[in-house]
């Protein structure tokens, strides 16, 4: 076979394969949208669940999930950012550093139910937070911490080393170099890591199962010590263990669709912020 023909065949193959992946993705989203769009009315979004959750809306679960996303990232982002900076720019390049890196990686790969159990033991019971937004957020924060640490570290490492050298050669301290020269360049990438965490937090069920999620709680939380409903757990309840799974099937699809929309929203938001930031970085 000639080289040209070979190349054409391979390219077509790759193109078909990637097309297939896109098709699968679209059919999942399309299927959920098709089944869920009908129930996604304003009352569904802003209403309380009624009649044994077979009717009404899912507003408490939306609020709950937004609370957990905000809470966990308020905790995880600063801690993860600083840890990532430390590992990348300050930690001496020795065994301890490599140990930290390996531990961070394995933590990122740990099944999320383990975090749930750990969160229950530590935050719910030991520290006495009870089933609460606080306990749930802390658990989710630990879950996404490794992701944020890794993405911060990798974004900083990806900055052209010549920039780091230029800064040091002018007498900048490590912190000044990080703060003034490296972070502005790494920020768009760090933000992408943050987005992944955001999406992950919004969809995780296992970590909130024993730490915060309420089966049925048709009111708004008034403090961080309150329990809340959450979208992924509510989805699980509606489709398997609700009062009447058959009757709530379409509500389950509506909930799933909303979850997808939330993730999509943050994706788009990040792309926009990222674009704005890189423009700013290149001029200022």
């Amino acid at each position: 076979m000639s080289k040209k023909l070979m190349q054409a065949v391979m390219f077509t193959l790759f193109r078909l394969l990637s097309l297939m992946v896109v098709c699968i993705l679209f059919s999942i989203v399309g299927f959920i949208a098709y089944r869920g769009l009908a129930v996604l009315r304003p009352q569904f979004i802003t209403g309380l669940p009624e009649n044994g959750m077979t009717e009404g809306g899912i507003f408490p679960a939306i609020v709950g999930t937004l609370c957990l996303m905000t809470g966990s990232l308020l905790i995880a982002f600063p801690v993860g950012l600083l840890s990532g900076i430390y590992v990348s720019e300050f930690a001496p390049d020795n065994r301890l550093k490599r140990f930290i890196q390996i531990m961070t990686n394995s933590l990122a790969g740990t099944p999320s139910i383990i975090f749930g159990l750990f969160g229950m033991a530590l935050f719910v019971n030991q520290l006495g937070f009870g089933d609460s937004i606080l306990a749930g957020s802390l658990t989710l924060a630990i879950l996404v911490l490794p992701v944020i640490i890794r993405s911060t570290e990798e974004s900083l490492n990806a900055v052209n080393p010549a920039i780091r050298q230029a800064s040091y050669a002018l007498g900048a301290t490590r912190w000044q170099t990080v703060y003034r020269a490296l972070l502005p360049l790494a920020l768009p990438d760090i933000l992408s890591g943050l987005l992944v965490s955001f999406s992950r937090v919004s969809g995780e069920t296992a970590p909130i199962l024993f730490t915060v999620a309420a089966y049925y709680l048709p009111r708004m939380p008034s403090s961080v010590y309150d329990q809340v409903m959450a979208l992924p757990y509510h989805l699980y309840v509606l489709s398997t263990s609700g009062t009447d799974p058959e009757a709530t099937r379409s509500m389950a699809y509506g909930t799933a669709l909303l979850l997808i929309l939330i993730v999509l929203f943050f994706n788009v938001l990040t792309v926009l912020v990222r674009r704005l930031l890189s423009k700013y970085v290149n001029i200022k």
């Binding site: 050669a169 003034r180 001029i283």
Partner: protein, 250 residues
């Protein structure tokens, strides 16, 4: 009293000895050229004087390095202050992805200078000294990365000059540039030596002969010969130096 001095310096990267027993003195307001084949230790030697080798954690050093007669490797030495005094220009232009103005102001800002007028004055002056002022004076807020390669290198020189160093280390500052830009920078080096002590690494023999007062020839981590540039290029003591400067190996 010499401005820069190395005494019995040995330097290792892990098990590899990059510099072998080097002693050398450089006087104030002179240009010293460091020449020698690739890998002979020129850059490593140059980076001793602003402690940039410290960034490699497998570096080991013995001997003494003096700047203004002070041992810059003693425990109490302030590395950041040293780097303000001893500026550096790299082989490839490496401006920050900021505006022209912010690039030159960077060194001042990290030194805590807040006075706007003073910063503007220093930026202007440094750009003039680096003969870049006429090229950029219309818009200092342009992104530095929009400048040509040669202009970027002059910007890096201006950036180094802004913090008012007394020494300028240049590691092959023209090797990534076109001939016209390179000769602009050569002229610049010639002018700058009135105020600064300059050490320049170069692979270009004509350049070494044109800009430097003294030349040091390195070979495999050793300092083979160090003398007035005229002598190095006309009748050096060592055959090896002779061969190198006449292009018979290297």
């Amino acid at each position: 009293m010499s401005k820069l001095e190395a005494r019995d310096v040995n330097l290792f990267f892990g098990a590899h000895q990059a510099l072998k027993n080097i002693s050398l003195q450089m006087e104030k307001h002179t240009v010293t050229a460091l020449i020698g084949p690739s890998g002979c230790g020129k850059s490593t030697f140059l980076r001793l004087f602003n402690r940039m080798n410290d960034l490699h954690n497998d570096m080991r050093l013995s001997g003494t390095i003096l700047v203004d007669n002070k041992n810059i490797y003693q425990r109490s030495a302030d590395v950041d202050a040293l780097r303000k005094k001893v500026g550096m220009v790299f082989q490839k232009p490496n401006p920050f992805p900021k505006s022209i103005f912010e690039n030159v102001a960077y060194g001042l800002r990290i030194n805590g200078v807040r006075n706007k007028n003073y910063i503007e004055e220093r930026v202007t002056r440094s750009l003039q000294q680096a003969s870049l002022w006429d090229d950029v004076k219309d818009n200092l807020n342009r992104p530095a990365l929009q400048l040509s390669y040669g202009q970027q290198q002059r910007l890096c020189i201006a950036r180094a000059l802004a913090v008012e160093p007394s020494v300028l280390l240049m590691d092959e500052p023209t090797s990534a540039l076109d001939p016209a830009s390179a000769s602009t920078i050569e002229e610049l080096i010639y002018e700058l030596k009135i105020k600064y002590t300059i050490v320049v690494v170069t692979h270009n023999m004509q350049q070494a002969a044109r800009v430097s007062d003294r030349t040091a020839f390195f070979y495999l981590g050793e300092l083979v010969e160090y003398d007035e540039t005229k002598i190095i290029f006309t009748h050096p003591t060592h055959q090896r130096t002779q061969n190198y400067v006449t292009g018979r190996f290297g």
